[in-house]
């Protein structure tokens, strides 16, 4: 078997709750709370409703519940519906620079924890492990640079965490990795041009297939021997692949390193939104002559270059559009994800202002990214004034972290859309103490709407 895969399998087998630092445990809880908030906030979105219907076709005595309901389905289908809910608002954490959203592995871990009857410590360990493997693959190769999508990291991270919860031995853990990589490379076309629902659903689908890989390995399925290092394996596909470091006892676990989103919007819009909010206090929208966003290449390429971004017609394009988001923020003088509602996407005032927005790459910013998330916003008024503000680390970045209170506030706002306030409070109480629980399914109990 592939030496890189063996290394992952040995690491996964050996990792225990005791080897996690206190910080890692706490940060994992913060990300569970943050992700569940996003899932509840996105509950009523169209793709989430369809995903629940698809997952709900199957009823099972085992498996995991569809989030927010008491319906148990098989864990890969629960991973699908719950993963889509968690991601659809684009409010969950991120590894900037093509690393996607590692918390996409949380929903499948909840499903697997329920399926396997894991306790709170087991759940936290599996999530920390999934983050670790996810990040190691992102460090191993940036799929995006090769026209492919980050959801491969989701599939592999999910698969390893799921295999851990299933208690698979090292050999089957290795098979899981192979079975997660080989069929699940995805095209970056998902994030190009006019965006479809799939932008927010590709990760839930990868989580589904990651869980399936672990279930296959548990049944004894064997995967290709050298899925990373062998001929026509992952390394050949992307040219080079060097698995990143995997954190050991007392190390800096990667679950502590992802950036949370303060605003429910694409990660690279976080700094520009912060800047626009500051300037909007001084400028009336009708006084704006032009808006220039100076940013790093990645943000320019992802959310500020294609013509579709200036006049989005879908929610998915709108929430990946700097011109649209900034225009809406400058008009509203606040940020709310209500700007992505069908009515606002057609708002002529927003479209008119978007025509005044230009996005430019700043070479110095490109050099500083991704360790910083820099943005300089310049607004020229019709009277010829120039207002400028620069942001390096938006709130939620590891260098400018959200406090626990802010994590709670975000959760309350999102969960409050579907749960009564008392329910939200009791859910938070339980989630902060998840490591004390004998049965991890308490997480899904806490946010059940029924």
């Amino acid at each position: 078997m592939d030496s890189t895969i063996e290394r992952i399998a040995a690491y996964a087998r050996a990792l225990t709750f005791e080897s996690l630092t206190e910080e890692a445990v706490h940060e994992t809880k913060r990300r569970i709370i943050d992700t569940l908030g996003c899932a509840l906030g996105g509950y009523d979105a169209e793709p989430c409703r369809i995903a629940r219907k698809i997952a709900g076709r199957v009823k099972s005595d085992s498996g995991g519940r569809i989030l927010g309901t008491s319906h148990r389905t098989l864990p890969d289908l629960a991973a699908f519906s719950n993963g889509i809910m968690a991601r659809y608002l684009d409010g969950n954490d991120a590894f900037p620079g093509g690393g996607g959203h590692p918390s996409d592995t949380i929903a499948p871990m909840l499903a697997m924890a329920e399926d396997t009857g894991a306790d709170g410590e087991g759940l936290l360990t599996a999530i920390a492990l999934a983050y670790e493997v996810y990040y190691a693959f992102f460090r191993g190769a940036c799929m995006r640079d090769h026209g492919m999508d980050h959801v491969l990291y989701t599939a592999v991270g999910t698969a390893v965490g799921a295999a851990k919860l299933l208690g698979l031995d090292q050999r089957k853990l290795a098979q899981t990795v192979s079975l997660a990589i080989t069929p699940n490379v995805a095209l970056h076309a998902t994030r190009r041009g006019d965006l479809s629902m799939w932008k927010g659903c590709a990760a839930g689908n990868a989580a589904r297939n990651g869980v399936f890989a672990a279930l296959l390995a548990a049944e004894g399925m064997t995967g290709p021997e050298n899925a990373i290092n062998g001929p026509d394996g992952l390394r050949e596909l992307v040219g080079s692949f060097d698995l990143g470091e995997l954190s050991e006892r007392n190390g800096q676990f990667k679950v502590t390193q992802s950036n949370l989103k303060y605003f429910l919007s694409e990660y690279h819009s976080q700094s520009p939104i912060t800047a626009a909010l500051q300037l909007s206090r001084e400028i009336q929208p009708e006084d704006i002559e032009s808006v220039t966003v100076h940013t790093y290449w990645f943000a320019w390429s992802e959310i500020g270059s294609e013509p579709e971004k200036w006049h989005p017609t879908t929610r998915e394009t709108a929430d990946h559009s700097l011109p649209f988001i900034l225009s809406a923020v400058l008009i509203d003088r606040e940020f709310s994800d209500a700007i992505f509602s069908p009515d606002r996407i057609r708002d002529p005032r927003v479209h008119a202002l978007a025509d005044k927005v230009s996005v430019k790459e700043d070479a110095d910013f490109t050099r500083r990214f991704p360790s910083a998330i820099p943005c300089r916003l310049e607004i020229r008024t019709v009277r010829g004034e120039l207002k400028t503000v620069t942001i390096d680390y938006p709130r939620g970045h590891v260098r400018n972290p959200m406090s626990d209170d802010e994590v709670e506030t975000k959760f309350r706002a999102l969960a409050g859309r579907v749960l009564p306030a008392a329910r939200v409070d009791s859910a938070l109480e339980r989630l902060w103490n998840i490591d004390q629980e004998h049965d991890a399914k308490i997480v899904l109990d806490a946010i059940c709407r029924e």
Binding site: K53, D149, T182, G220, P224
Partner: protein, 475 residues
């Protein structure tokens, strides 16, 4: 929607049963029968059992059937289990021009979709013929394998179109189904390199599972990437630009050109086994000094390019090893499922013969491929004399086709390990009546295993090659 998507969708929507020629309908029915035979033969294989065990958890109200059982499960999981069973013995049909694969893999997705959609036999035939056309034409257009991509990449496109047709998706939904199938399922060719794993026989079944899932998503209202083939970071960007050569309005015909197999091994070993079987009467095996196998590039790359092919540790490697299958043919006079047991893989006599076997690519033979599937074997005896034999078109090749009777014999032989001869004959009749069948449930129901008792035959030494050889000799 990009132009390739639009063409494929228009093509699939345009194919109607009435436009199919009689020979296409016949070829399709024969391939369905051949595929069901493979399911029967592979039913008790441990990988099939594992796939059914997993799929059986997914029971639901709007299900499809896992073949052989009466268990009704989520249709995508029925497609998975059925896809594993039909492929696990590596006896299903084959097509290779620039790329290659096993177009009958799509039958797994089509059958589950047909059941879910309460379709009749004609709809199933039409969808399968259209799916084969999409699969085979891609194999003609581009060598995706040499770019590192495996069969599921085009298989999933064909399977998604066939299933979309059966489930009556409209044009826009079908386009989304294609994007939802293609974009997340780029499978690596690593599956077919080095020591082979059980995934070799399951990768296509997984594609059927995800093809059907994509179709169900599209039907439920999901939207997928706008330009999955031609757009930025679409298939062309990672595999090269190519025209998918289906022509809207031209009825499908390629299904009649796929090659059927006689032996449960990689297609590129079929002619080598025939070559060995034909010549083995002309010498005593103890007298053999060396065996030299001359073959074409694809066969060399798949079945002789790695030291594991001289000491296969798994069934999957053994059935993709020219030294192994030729040695077995020379020693046993047959190549059947029983030669892949763990004890056979370790047998000293086999190892000794393999160690005296060499394989080389012959450029002249490579030039004849894919039009033919040529092989030459030179056996040198200890006294220095040489015995030479050639086969260009193994039985089942479209230039040396199996007759309907021979396909039926193969089916009966494979069915022997699964059910009674009476049931086998009943299935042959049902497959023959497929174009008049009102409800596809009849075919699926007819296949349900009647008892746990094994029939005589296949695993005990009978092999479909013999049946076909017998048929060939009689003509």
């Amino acid at each position: 929607m990009d132009a390739t998507t639009e063409k494929l969708v228009d093509y699939a929507m345009n194919v109607q049963y009435d436009s199919l020629s009689a020979s296409t309908v016949e070829a399709c029915k024969l391939r369905i029968l051949d595929t069901l035979g493979c399911v029967a033969g592979g039913y008790d294989h441990p990988v099939s059992v594992a796939a059914r065990t997993l799929a059986a958890r997914y029971s639901m109200d709007q299900p499809a059937t896992m073949l052989g059982s009466r268990a009704r499960v989520a249709p995508e999981m029925a497609a998975f289990a059925n896809g594993v069973m039909l492929r696990v013995l590596d006896l299903s049909d084959m097509y290779r021009v620039k790329s290659g694969g096993h177009p009958s893999d799509i039958i797994a997705a089509a059958l589950a979709a047909a059941e879910l959609g309460d379709c009749d036999g004609r709809s199933l035939i039409t969808a399968i013929a259209a799916g084969y056309e999409v699969y085979c034409s891609c194999c003609e257009a581009i060598d995706l394998n040499s770019k590192g991509w495996d069969q599921p990449v085009y298989g999933i496109v064909a399977a998604a179109l066939a299933a979309s047709k059966l489930l009556d998706l409209d044009k826009i939904q079908m386009a989304h189904a294609l994007a939802l199938a293609l974009v997340p399922n780029m499978a690596l060719y690593q599956t077919r390199q080095g020591e082979l794993s059980s995934w070799k026989g399951c990768a296509a079944a997984n594609a059927s599972r995800n093809a059907l899932f994509a179709v169900l998503l599209a039907k439920a209202g999901f939207t997928g990437a706008d330009a999955p083939f031609e757009g930025k970071s679409g298939l062309w960007d990672v595999a090269g630009r190519f025209e998918w050569p289906v022509q809207v309005g031209v009825p499908p015909y390629r299904i009649a050109r796929t090659h059927l197999k006689c032996f449960p091994i990689c297609y590129h070993g079929q002619s080598a086994v025939w070559t060995a079987l034909e010549m083995r009467e002309r010498f005593q095996i103890e007298d053999v000094a060396t065996v030299r196998i001359y073959t074409y590039r694809t066969a060399f790359n798949l079945m002789a390019n790695d030291p594991s092919r001289w000491a296969p540790a798994t069934r999957e490697t053994a059935d993709h090893s020219l030294p192994f299958v030729v040695s077995v043919a020379l020693l046993d006079g047959a190549v059947s499922e029983s030669c892949f047991s763990q004890s056979r893989l370790r047998e000293p006599r086999l190892a000794a013969l393999m160690s005296r076997t060499s394989v080389c690519e012959d450029e002249l033979l490579s030039m004849q491929c894919p039009e033919s599937s040529p092989c030459r074997i030179v056996v040198q005896l200890k006294d220095g004399s040489e015995i030479i034999n050639d086969v260009r078109y193994p039985k089942g090749h479209d230039r040396n086709p199996m007759s309907a009777a021979e396909v039926e014999d193969k089916f009966k032989t494979l069915f022997g390990s699964y059910g009674s001869l009476r049931q086998a004959k009943r299935m042959i009749a049902l497959a023959g009546e497929l174009d008049r069948m009102k409800d596809i449930g009849e075919l699926v129901g007819g296949f349900a295993r009647r008892s746990r008792q094994r029939g005589a035959g296949y695993l005990r030494g009978g092999h479909p090659g013999r049946a076909a050889a017998g048929g060939a000799n009689a003509t």
